[in-house]
Symmetry: C2
Subunit: 332 residues, 2 copies
């Protein structure tokens, strides 16, 4: 078995920083390939489109269009395979990994986690898969839009299930650290519930606000200022991306949307009956103030693989904890 | 009768740029006193609080706490009185104007217009009152927060009713121009409907989003990024200000809120039944794109007082039209 040399010199599969094989070279995957390269790791990418692969090669990166070839290499070198394809293509990617890279560890950077975890189980990847979600992005897409600093200081959720393998978990966390991110441990379902509230719901509210304001005609749009502009900014996102995100997190989004609908219906009734908006406005101000004043505890001392480590990690995540990159000398 | 000398040298009451008496020296009134002073107009202000009046005087402005005195001077000099007090204090201000300044023209800068117009009629100010609303502000308040450029390039709605007096209307428009704003003509009810959609509804949606996200706990707030921050920015506004705005525009806000609730309920049902968010997301994207690509026609050639001028002005406003400051040589 060929094992690539890594910075730490540890052998696979316990090497926390193995080579990296990136499937999908769009904004996220392309930025990741650049970032881990900049961090000194051996990395190569696969793109379905020859134009994308050619662009990556022209920029000095190792990329190609032969999926089986990229995965067989990942298997030989005990790489970590990062699935960075759009959500609808995850299933096909996992099938190819199951076939061509039975020894590689696997993660992903898709914005929903429950469905991806279920697909990983279905394809028999349990034990060598740990999901991830870097909370980073721009309104651009494609290889050309990527840059190695995209993930710097971002939050990278690392999937933490009861049966998560500690070595794989450590590899995914190290990937996040190498990209400059901090790590928040969370179970897939907790992640999906959280992003429904802070990412998917804001999109639906922005769309509804844009439509309601537009119904006021050019007079209303002509008077629109900061509150409208900020409140509808994400409505400018390409509809296909918004639908994919929201529909991929349907169940959690329904719960968050119902919560918001209840609040707004109650506010409507209080305004109609008591001419007051005070209850909602007061609660909203309190909530936003809590966000502005939030602090993050740094999670330390939970060793992956130690007794109860997944539950302790998740508990720390629930309380707003984050893992920072350890000093190189004491790397996990 | 003492008539102050003005730039155009025209006599009152047809002088479009008479002296200015500002009631209320908070952010808006204080900025207005500074702006018209910078434009070379005679101006003085009234503040209820001695500390505020003293601060204005210390900054070189003409200000005091004797309301009757300020208004009697406005009457003598045929000034335009600008009511810049909080909405709940408008009634009292109009009563004082009716008593002490029977010859002055009157406008206001309050963010709702139907209720203020009704109060003006109630106090017998019809014929010498034309409402206004500069779409400008910051999150700060008080004299100290004001600055003369606050209104530069802002939209200033000028109330345009069937019985609006053309001379008073012209005075209010000139006030907006002197502050560096453009003028959008609109009836009070049209203004209120528009701002319900582009200003008051965004506040309620932001509050609901903040509360719903906060219900996700520290994990959700810890993952929150751009879409949450932008979508909840105005939830940081002082609750008293938000309630005053929203409650003062109750009827129009209920209509806008019902529109948004219908959209969100429909989206909820489509997501639950068809696992799709496409209809709302597509409509929202179209609406936001229309906002980004909106153009403003410059309204010219409608002479206040000419046949059908109020309806022509309102019609232009409905189509997104704006009046720009005329050249000094051809000032209205």
């Amino acid at each position: 078995m060929i094992v690539s040399s890594t910075a730490s010199g540890l052998p696979s599969p316990h090497d926390p920083r193995p080579p990296v094989c990136v499937l999908g070279l769009g904004l996220i995957g392309g930025s990741l390939l650049r970032a881990v390269g900049a961090a000194g790791r051996t990395a190569w990418g696969h793109a379905r489109s020859a134009a994308t692969a050619d662009a990556a090669v022209a920029d000095g990166y190792d990329a190609g269009t032969d999926l089986a070839d990229a995965l067989r290499r990942a298997d030989r070198e005990r790489a970590i395979v990062v699935v960075a394809v759009p959500a609808p293509a995850v299933d096909e990617a996992f099938a190819a990994i199951a076939e061509h890279a039975p020894n590689a560890t696997v993660t992903d950077v898709v914005s929903v986690k429950t469905a991806v975890l279920a697909a990983a189980r279905e394809h028999g990847l349990t034990g060598r898969y740990v999901g991830g979600h870097p909370m980073a992005g721009t309104s651009e897409s494609g290889w050309g839009a990527g840059f190695p600093e995209l993930f710097r200081d971002a939050v990278w959720v690392v999937g933490t299930e009861d049966d998560s393998d500690p070595d794989v978990w450590t590899q995914v966390a190290a990937l996040a650290f190498d990209c400059g991110s901090v790590v928040v441990p969370a179970a897939a379902v907790e992640h999906d519930n959280a992003v429904a509230r802070i990412s998917h719901l804001p999109h639906l509210l922005a769309e509804a606000l844009a439509v309601t304001a537009d119904a006021g005609g050019p007079l209303a749009l002509g008077l629109a200022a900061g509150s409208f502009r900020d409140g509808t900014r994400v409505a400018a996102t390409a509809p296909g991306l918004v639908n994919a995100m929201c529909e991929g997190n349907r169940d959690a989004l329904l719960v968050a949307l119902d919560d918001a609908l209840t609040l707004l219906r109650d506010a409507r009734n209080t305004l109609a009956q008591e001419s007051s908006t005070a209850p909602l406005v007061s609660a909203g101000h309190t909530a936003r103030t809590r966000y502005d004043e939030r602090t993050h505890t740094v999670v330390e001392g939970i060793v992956p693989g130690s007794d109860g480590w997944t539950e302790r990690m998740r508990d720390a995540g629930r309380r707003g904890g984050r893992l920072h990159r350890p000093d190189e000398d004491s790397f996990m």
